[in-house]
Amino acid sequence: MTKLAVVELKLLTREPGAIFSLLIPLFILVVFGSSIEPGDTVLLPMALAIAVGLVGLYMLPTTMATYRERGILRRLSTTPVRPGNLLVVQLILQLVLALTACGLLLAVGGTVLGAHLPTGVLPGVLTFLLGTAAMFAVGLLIAALAPNGRAANGIGVLLYFPMAYLAGLMQPTDQMPDILARIGEYTPLGAFRQSLRDVWAGGAPSPLLLGVMAAYAVVISIAAARFFRWE
């Protein structure tokens, strides 16, 4: 199991997509960050949501669907090791990837760009965990339904843009049609961004939105588990 984790980690670092998931949000942060005022509370939550969304919708499903497509899960089930171990290792590593991306954003945003960093650690962590769980659940569902890695990749990208738009990651929500902004708040990514925003503003995230994310995480994971095929 340790060796499996080590090898999978090596593979992840050789994956160009992983580097992109780290660099794209950072790039966006730096480009827009040059014009923010010190103490800004909007840009970092957006960048964090973009990063977690990329990992959840793009990296996770593509990796898992590719593993199934290539018969790696099947090959593993002929050994004494259960293929489920590989999925667990992957989930943990993708979580580490999301954490790394967010850590990088916080470090750069908080120091170089002088953006505001929230004081409430616990609400921040809770929001991060629930938002990541919701996005990973969507990713797992894509992995379960996609016939192969390429399709998973396509579905992930296709879903990413509308979800990012509704979540207010393409433009600020107050410039969006009211109805879309309201709907967007209850999408997984939108609830995540809004909750982060609340944390950054110094308040507690709304329990309703936290509940929404938890519900997405649970319901969509169950659906993913139901539809998942090993081969």
Binding site: L4, R14, T66, R70, T78, P80
Partner: protein
């Protein structure tokens, strides 16, 4: 001792019956061939035996274990090369071997396998950069890294050039010599003739014969021919010899048709009468002929 016993195995996908009562047993230390045209259920059969697919009926025992119920215990003792499988593009050869070795309680030293299978200089190459033959050899090495008692190799030499096939065959013989029982799935006649101690011939989801390759060939009772050119001495009467069904002569060329081992009788008769011949040719009967005799159609026509 039988290490694998399969009795009346049945499997269907939706309304397609793939295995319709397959029974065979594999003895310890032999190379057992599973031969048949495409789509006749060879892979389905071995994957049921490996515990990868669930049969709809029949019973399977491997090393005394039920592949479905005692799967975990069984998987310690078998090594598998699947027909359709890949590794991650970016994994290095040594990493794959090292990783798979870590799955087993008593693995082989993977560095030895690296040498044996001619992959030592590809140690640090990524899977995606290997040639077809190198990938295939890596798969076989991975099937052996757990130090298995039984190895299942599905389409061993698919995609290999003739030279690489020969090399692989030699290595498989060494695997048998080391005491590992090998189940070899193939749709190549020459491979089975070269390697297998016994072979089960599959056709449309059933086994039509199980025998040694030589036994299968000898078992066919089809006519074949021998030809020669008369050099010196007078032609003798061959028509009455056992097995001979016809003799035709055109100038000095003679063609004798017959069944069974009539050629021995003919050459003995010629020698006894001091008839000197040249250009002697006996049509070699092959497993191909055996397949036609068993199924009534040619092996290649089913592709």
């Amino acid at each position: 001792m039988a290490v694998i016993e399969v009795t009346d195995l049945r499997k269907r996908y939706a309304d397609l019956t793939v295995l319709d009562g397959v029974s065979f047993s594999v003895e310890e230390g032999e190379i057992f061939g599973i031969l048949g045209p495409n789509g006749t259920g060879k892979t389905t059969t071995v994957e049921c035996v490996e515990g990868l697919r669930r049969p709809d009926g029949g019973s399977i025992k491997v090393l005394g274990l039920d592949p479905v119920k005692d799967g975990r215990k069984l998987r310690e003792q078998i090594g598998v090369q699947l027909q359709h499988t890949q590794l991650p593009e970016n994994i290095k050869v040594w990493e794959a071997l090292d990783l798979y070795a870590s799955f087993y309680a008593n693995p082989r030293n993977w560095r030895e396998l690296l040498e044996e299978w001619g992959l030592a200089d590809k140690r640090n190459a990524r899977f995606g950069k290997l040639s077809g033959g190198q990938k295939q050899r890596l798969f076989i090495a991975l099937a052996l890294v757990g130090n298995p008692r039984v190895a299942f190799l599905d389409e061993l030499t698919a995609g290999l050039d003739p030279q690489a096939r020969r090399t692989t065959w030699e290595l498989i013989k060494q695997v048998r010599a080391s005491g590992v029982t090998v189940v070899l799935v193939s749709h190549f006649m020459d491979e089975v003739e070269e390697l297998c101690d016994r072979v089960a011939v599959f056709d449309r989801g059933t086994i039509v014969a199980i025998d040694t390759p030589a036994g299968l060939v000898d078992g066919i009772d089809a006519e074949h021919q021998m030809r020669f050119t008369l050099m010196a001495g007078d032609m003798v009467e061959l028509g009455g010899l056992p097995g001979v069904t016809g003799v035709t002569r055109t100038g000095n060329r003679v063609v004798v048709t017959g069944r069974g081992d009539f050629a021995t009788a003919v050459t003995a008769e010629l020698a006894r009468h001091h008839v000197l011949v040249s250009d002697l040719r006996i049509d070699k009967r092959t497993l191909d002929d055996a397949f036609v005799a068993l199924t009534g159609r040619s092996f290649d026509s089913t592709h």
